[in-house]
């Protein structure tokens, strides 16, 4: 009997926690609905996406915590920039409020933040900004933190050595649990080690380490020898722009390396990106747990991942054998593109009819659509039957009131987009 209980309990143990980015309410809801186990987000300015459009306000912590707790999703507040003396008061204010609102942990890099969070009784997770690459540093930070993200520049062999040592030496965090190792699983990579880049600061006074990266590395450059005026022949002018990290095709190896938390990058990305990426990785992690992780499934997930913003994919340094892989075009290689069409005006719950006012372009019967909003999150559907100004129609134009059947409730704060194949890739 005991044996049966043990087996069933063991099967329920999560292989790996899936951690999703939330830059706003749309993305937060999209992440939760798509199956994230935890979300990370910034409040005010002291995080690596400090611009206001990618952050929440302090007063929203309560609602975030309540919403995530209702869905059994953990909440991590990022407080991981360089911290100056004038920031210390807001650091304390943010941590105190996080504690009050039952936020699960603080993601930190500066010792002032780590120290205050611990004194306030908050769980601490170590940020990628600390660039942890060996077991002794893990031991050091285990004095303060329960989860530690490793440097993206390590190979999985190096990761495995660290997780094995944690197990063997029983390295525990303040909670008394074994230290959990977190790894970046998907999204943008930085050309500098663990994001420690000063290009943006030097060129535009806009420090990446204060969350204001201007992404100099994503532009084209020519290299000229000033002495001879000879231009260096480079086959790709995007000499500093890495392709995006994607690990879905070797996620089983990441699980095998002992990683406990898989982090998706992208607090600055659109909500449909968060939904698509989280859904794919959720399915992949579940497939590994259920022994259904296979080539056919990987191909389907890869197609889904390619449909949203990406600079082309590579495996980073995890598999150890590849040199850097560079992006060679401007912007995204997403196979799908969204075009803004209409704003939400009404929803008739009994008949499940959504009503929108067309503000730009046009929409036709049969079109694939995307609806996003702070309460709705992300809804993807298609228009099977279209009514324009109350009558059946094939096309809705600017100024028209359109209605169509939709199972999900929409709101006046929602925006409707048409999804089309990306013309730049045709």
């Amino acid at each position: 009997m005991d044996k049966i209980n043990f087996v069933s309990k063991k099967m329920k143990t999560k292989t790996m926690e899936l951690m999703a980015p939330a830059g706003n309410w749309e993305s937060l809801r999209a992440a939760v609905n798509a199956g994230a186990d935890s979300v990370y987000f910034g409040v005010e300015q002291l995080n690596m996406r400090a611009r206001a459009s990618m952050n929440f306000e302090l007063s929203e912590l309560k609602e975030i915590s309540a919403f995530c707790s209702q869905h059994k999703v953990k909440t991590y507040l990022t407080l991981n920039t360089i911290v100056y003396d004038h920031d210390l008061s807001i650091v304390k204010k943010l941590i105190d409020e996080a504690k009050k609102q039952h936020i699960s942990a603080i993601i930190a890099s500066d010792q002032a933040v780590i120290s205050y969070a611990r004194s306030a009784g908050m769980e601490v997770h170590i940020s990628t900004q600390v660039n942890i690459t060996n077991i002794e540093t893990v031991k050091f930070y285990a004095l303060f933190a329960d989860v530690i993200v490793l440097s993206r520049e390590l190979s999985l062999n190096q990761v495995k050595k660290i997780t094995t040592a944690i197990e063997k030496e029983q390295i525990k965090g303040p909670s008394g649990r074994l230290i959990e190792i977190e790894l970046f699983g998907h999204g943008a990579l930085c050309m500098a080690v663990s994001g420690k880049c000063y290009l943006s600061l030097h060129s535009q006074n806009s420090s990446a380490n204060r969350g204001a990266c201007m992404q100099n590395c994503r532009r084209t450059y020519t290299v000229i020898d000033n002495e001879t005026q000879n231009e260096l022949l480079i086959d790709n002018e995007y000499i500093m722009s890495p392709q995006d990290l994607c690990t879905i095709d070797f996620l089983d190896k990441i699980v095998d390396s002992g990683v406990k938390v898989l982090k998706i990058e992208g607090r600055g990305k659109a909500p449909e990106y968060v939904k698509t990426v989280v859904k794919a990785y959720r399915e992949a992690i579940d497939a590994i747990e259920n022994n259904t992780y296979n080539t056919a499934a990987i191909e389907t997930w890869m197609e889904d991942l390619k449909s949203v913003y990406n600079r082309g994919f590579w495996s980073g340094y995890y598999l150890g054998q590849e040199m850097g892989s560079w992006h060679n075009t401007s912007g995204s290689l997403a196979t799908q593109k969204k075009i803004y069409i209409a704003k939400g005006t009404h929803y008739y719950p009994k008949t499940q009819i959504a009503e929108f006012e067309v503000e730009a372009q046009h929409i036709a019967k049969g079109d694939s659509i995307l609806i996003t909003g702070p309460t709705t999150g992300v809804v993807e559907s298609s228009i099977d039957e279209l009514y324009v100004n109350g009558k059946p129609a094939l096309l809705g134009k600017k100024g028209d009131q359109i209605t169509f059947r939709l199972a999900e409730r929409i709101r006046v704060t929602d925006k409707l987009y048409k999804l089309i194949p990306n013309p730049e890739l045709q």
């Binding site: 300015q45 002291l46 611009r51 920031d87 210390l88 008061s89 006074n205 806009s206 420090s207 201007m214």
Partner: protein, 77 residues
């Protein structure tokens, strides 16, 4: 006279303005954001009319602000 405005809500607390022009800006110990000294407050904005003596410093602050929330204008009175 010049008119300076600061949209404080969007400040990321980089400290450059307070470093360049301590007579005009100071970092708030309350929220880590910049404060335009002696300004009047209207909504998200802090506004100050001051004499031309501060023009160069104010323009330098406007130029270096990474989130472009400092504006400087000439005013008639």
């Amino acid at each position: 006279m010049i008119s300076i405005s600061l949209q404080q809500k969007k400040c990321i607390g980089c400290n450059y303005c307070a470093e360049i022009a301590p007579e005009l800006f100071r970092m708030s110990k309350k929220d880590g954001k910049s404060v335009l000294l002696h300004a009047t407050h209207k909504g998200d904005y802090q506004n100050l009319k001051t004499n031309d003596f501060f023009r160069e410093d104010a323009l330098k602050c406007k130029e270096v602000c990474p989130v472009k929330i400092i504006k400087v204008h000439d005013c008639k009175s």
